[in-house]
């Protein structure tokens, strides 16, 4: 287990190298630079600025310098948010994104799993059709449509909840973004859980359990649910990535000061260091999440052991 974890962490190094390299050079070949504003700077001042940020060096030198700083955990200063380092901005935005994303995943599991199980147990019944129909709707209507409609209906027309803003993370401000972010994942998880539950309920060991005379409740709770959950667990990696992506839009719509907003703004403003920092940060996050999900998988499935 430990050696497996170490091996996976080692494998993360080339991944992150690729991420850093691609995004570094992509960002640099982009036309325009961080100092193109409405007001044209005098050339001497711009040259001084560039020298101060080492932007006058040849690109490979800049790359090596950035890598060196990165190894020391230094993401550099932001070009657009004066007086802020990228680390500070990420540390400011991440707790917000984490809160929304974490709650959304939790909600997706808490709602999606029971729905899928219920649909599987009452296969081809009204419950099943209702759940699967709703799930398909959840997949077909993207979150950037659901979120504004939520904001309009619950925020403006009914005025039950604030239509946007963060307000220091007060719970009424959380509800709409979290629900909007989780709906698609609820739909995916419910569908996946239903399919895998049906497969599990048809397998031999369930037949044996029934033959032993166990009650249906016991068959489902003691025997069927755990193995049926495995595909959902392995889906959690992509789900987390999906939530992170979705949060870019959701943060934009609800005006939430998370990382996603920094990223889009940064890319549009050519804020090199901020964009790089965000990409690297999310790269690390996704690698770690995938590792955790795989370890969780092995804990749930006794047939899988990571020995080597």
């Amino acid at each position: 287990m430990l050696s497996y974890t170490l091996k996976r962490l080692l494998m993360a190094i080339p991944t992150l190298l690729i991420v850093i390299t691609i995004s570094f050079f992509l960002m640099r070949v982009a036309p325009g630079g961080p100092f193109d504003g409405e007001r044209q700077l005098p050339p001497e001042i711009e040259a001084n600025l560039k020298a101060a940020y080492h932007l006058d060096e040849p690109l490979p030198m800049q790359y090596l310098r950035y890598m060196g700083n990165l190894l020391e955990g230094d993401f550099g200063p932001s070009f657009k948010y004066k007086d802020f380092s990228v680390t500070e901005l990420i540390m400011q935005g991440f707790p917000v994104s984490l809160e929304i994303g974490g709650l959304a995943i939790l909600l997706a599991l808490l709602v999606g799993l029971p729905l899928g199980i219920a649909a599987a147990i009452r296969r081809n019944s009204t419950v099943d059709y209702l759940v699967m129909g709703t799930a398909l709707t959840g997949i077909a209507v993207p979150n950037f449509v659901i979120a504004p409609i939520f904001a309009l209906v619950f925020g403006v027309l009914l005025a039950w909840l604030p239509a946007g803003g963060w307000n220091g993370g007060a719970w009424p401000n959380l509800v709409l973004p979290v629900v909007a972010l989780s709906i698609q994942q609820i739909a995916y998880i419910a569908r996946m859980m239903r399919a895998s539950m049906i497969e599990t309920l048809g397998s031999h060991f369930i037949r044996t359990a029934r033959a032993k005379g166990l009650s249906e409740t016991e068959v489902i709770w003691r025997h069927a649910i755990r193995p049926a959950m495995l595909p959902v667990v392995s889906y959690l990696g992509p789900a987390i990535a999906g939530i992170i992506t979705g949060s870019v839009v959701i943060e934009q719509i609800f005006g939430i000061p998370g990382i996603g907003r920094y990223f889009v703004q940064g890319a549009l403003n050519r804020d090199y260091t901020l964009v790089m920092g965000t990409v690297v940060f999310y790269g690390v996050l996704i690698v770690l999440m995938n590792l955790i999900v795989d370890l969780l998988y092995s804990a749930l499935d006794p047939q899988i052991r990571y020995d080597d």
Partner: protein, 323 residues
Amino acid sequence: MTSDSKPYSGEQRDGAPLPAGGPKPPPGPDPTPDPRAADAPVGESLAKDAWRRLTQNRAAMASLGLLIAIVVVCIAGPWFLPWGLAEVDWNAFGTGPTLENAHYLGTDANGRDLLTRVLYGGRVSLSVALVASFVSLVIGVLYGAISGYVGGRVDSLMMRFVDIMYSLPFMFLVILLMVVFGRNIFLIYAAIGAVEWLDMARIVRGQTLALKRREFIEAAHALGVRDSKIVTRHLIPNAIGPVIVYVTLTVPKVILLESFLSFLGLGVQEPLTSWGVLISEGVDMMESAPWMLLVPSFFLAATLFCLNFLGDGLRDALDPKTR
């Protein structure tokens, strides 16, 4: 209570999905004509059988019909409408759906006919979906088939590369790409296609690994067929079932991705439009002109809905386990 969910019809047609695979290798490299067809339980080809099962699935057929209707309307519709894509009606700024002035679904804030724009946007969204899915299909199938067929060290290297690609924060790279190279529709095709091939590669590799041990591949080997030909003529055609299903499910994902980019203002550029662009315009005008959000959302959702239903139907139709 629920034990009725497993109907045992008695027919246990193991290995039926693939036409070949008898104990004796077929005479030619092409295994399609099964010499034992006479005494086989059903003398139907896989494609025919799948089509029959698909036509029995009412939800899938209805989806297919609606999908065809949407495509036809998007392609042909603009010719029959009196308005152009960017034509401004100076008498109708932001008017709601009405039959009176030939703006059947209303106009946007600039007085452009919404129905016309939705149909043009549909052309863009659907073409992105098709081209990008096709790009991902070609890359994924070739990559997966080669990886699975060659096997060994090459396979583990190629799959390791896929693993690495999986953990890239792709959405961010695509956004970066859009910002960097400008919002160009061909770039959107390529970028999305390049992102979506990973799953396909894994699926095809799995299929190939299972197929390459089978007798008809061995027979082709014995007959001296070249490796490249075995991959393209025997492996890929036999792995096509799951691939078709997966493509049907990739198309809605791509449509969604394009809309997502457009929503962030990184998709196609004026004067072109897409469903994502229209939705994003609609969100801005949501309170005063809700139809501007609802109309493109409806088209997008209906298309995604149908594609998902169709994909499910195809999976059921092609999956030998559900027979």
